[in-house]
Symmetry: C2
Subunit: 324 residues, 2 copies
Amino acid sequence: MGEFELIRRHFQRSGVALPDQVALGIGDDCALLQPAPGHQLAVSCDMLVEGRHFFVGTNPASLGHKALAVNLSDLAAMGARPLGFTLALALPSANDAWLTAFAQGLFALADAHACPLVGGDTTRGPLNICITVLGELRPGQALRRGAAQPGDDLYVSGRTGEARLALELLLGTPWALEHAAPGTLPRLRERLERPVPRVALGRALAGLAHAALDVSDGLAGDLGHLLQASGVGAHIELPHLPVAPDLQALPPALQLDCLINGGDDYELLFTAAPADRTAIEAAAQASETPVHRIGQISAALGLRLLDAAGQPVALAPRGFDHFA
Amino acid sequence: MGEFELIRRHFQRSGVALPDQVALGIGDDCALLQPAPGHQLAVSCDMLVEGRHFFVGTNPASLGHKALAVNLSDLAAMGARPLGFTLALALPSANDAWLTAFAQGLFALADAHACPLVGGDTTRGPLNICITVLGELRPGQALRRGAAQPGDDLYVSGRTGEARLALELLLGTPWALEHAAPGTLPRLRERLERPVPRVALGRALAGLAHAALDVSDGLAGDLGHLLQASGVGAHIELPHLPVAPDLQALPPALQLDCLINGGDDYELLFTAAPADRTAIEAAAQASETPVHRIGQISAALGLRLLDAAGQPVALAPRGFDHFA
């Protein structure tokens, strides 16, 4: 199977209508998109490398889903509406069954967000998946990470930590094997391999919330980026952090580590004015996305973790660094 | 050096002003671009893999240049104005000298086209460079490959074949070593490793030429794609193909193979109405890009190569296929 045949067979979908924003799809030197009049364009790009971002032998349908999900999550964190994406794929060989499953996982998520594949590149090489996603939003409505204000409420969508526990179980880490309840891996693994990008919530928050980012490297580490960009500090009231049922059996220190240093959560972390609490609740309901108010932004720099008695808890925050 | 430090040191350029179309650059979940009112967006994406698209040990400055050049060439082939690009980079290690040179080659070309780096991703992994470029153009002005008309003139910019001869010399192919003049490699290698994207010509042709594409896989093979997309045929008058000085010593069959099956040329192949010959010449002059009229589009399908006497020449066209 040649390169053009591979693209035709797996990535050109003759029976599927392209959304209105696509003036020209796959097959020319460029794709052509027509953003809504006056809108800004949001662009993000993520590269997934085998053995680094996913295990050798990962289910290709999950991989197709996740490669797009992590990019849609960046659009969500900006408050943008998805327009389309490009896919560059390096493959050790043109494995038909692998490509069929990968495309299925990819397109199921793309269709759910009306975010079509508009172009890309395929080549032979060590397995590498690079997606660039494009979205649009009205000028002035973007959720920038530097826009947090002292006094803002601090929120997180969904819940964090399950992907981390799944990862530790798959790595065979002793504490995870010891404390995770039997039979939880399939459910936890779904959280690691099939993250749900919070696109609807992000769009509902655009122009309403102040700062936002998506939690990919751990809640504490990513919050640190938001605080630094905004020149502010924050506290988190730990009892307000939602704890997944599968994390409830963990010893407190390990549970907390999963919750705030987990990684691969793809939840939205955002701030908003206390006066907008009702509007934030309405945005959460309209987007059918659970949202928890977990703390507050302060003028004083630094991140403080507070226990149920309001006392500081020590825990070194750490995010994931690909070159550490 | 961590991932964030690597990005800060090599890819965030504090002293360089961003062009007006960039509302927000590197450092948030997404970059924000503001296309001109009413314009369409052109998007293209290319992935370069070490050992496949470039030799192990290729000069990193050349690599930075070429990775962006091949993407700008796609914009040129569409007639689009560059807006910005994202870069995803997988690196075996964070080699400071390599990154410094790579960034130098990349930014020199980016600056020449006012096409800033607006976002991306870096990770550890087998060397892989994936760039997605964004451009803008007026609706209806795109140079699509399916727009050739019977009777159109067929043009190519610059000249083809030198990159192919450079590649064969670097591979140590006997015919190349036998026939290439001594001392030509440095010059030829520049043509392989530092292609000049024909952005100014492409923009001058937008709304004037009919069909266009960029020649990356060999003139004959890429012309085949244009003909197929347009449902037409063509002939090329071989004596009208420009021959670089360094190719003139080659035996005729090898010379022809370089000219029409070369690959890595990144010249524009385009068609236009004979009534627009003066306008095409003006576009070539305005963009300071040599252009040659090499043949004509026909209603009869197929590609015919004609010699000086108008007699057909047999040569199997072939393009490069990454999965063949």
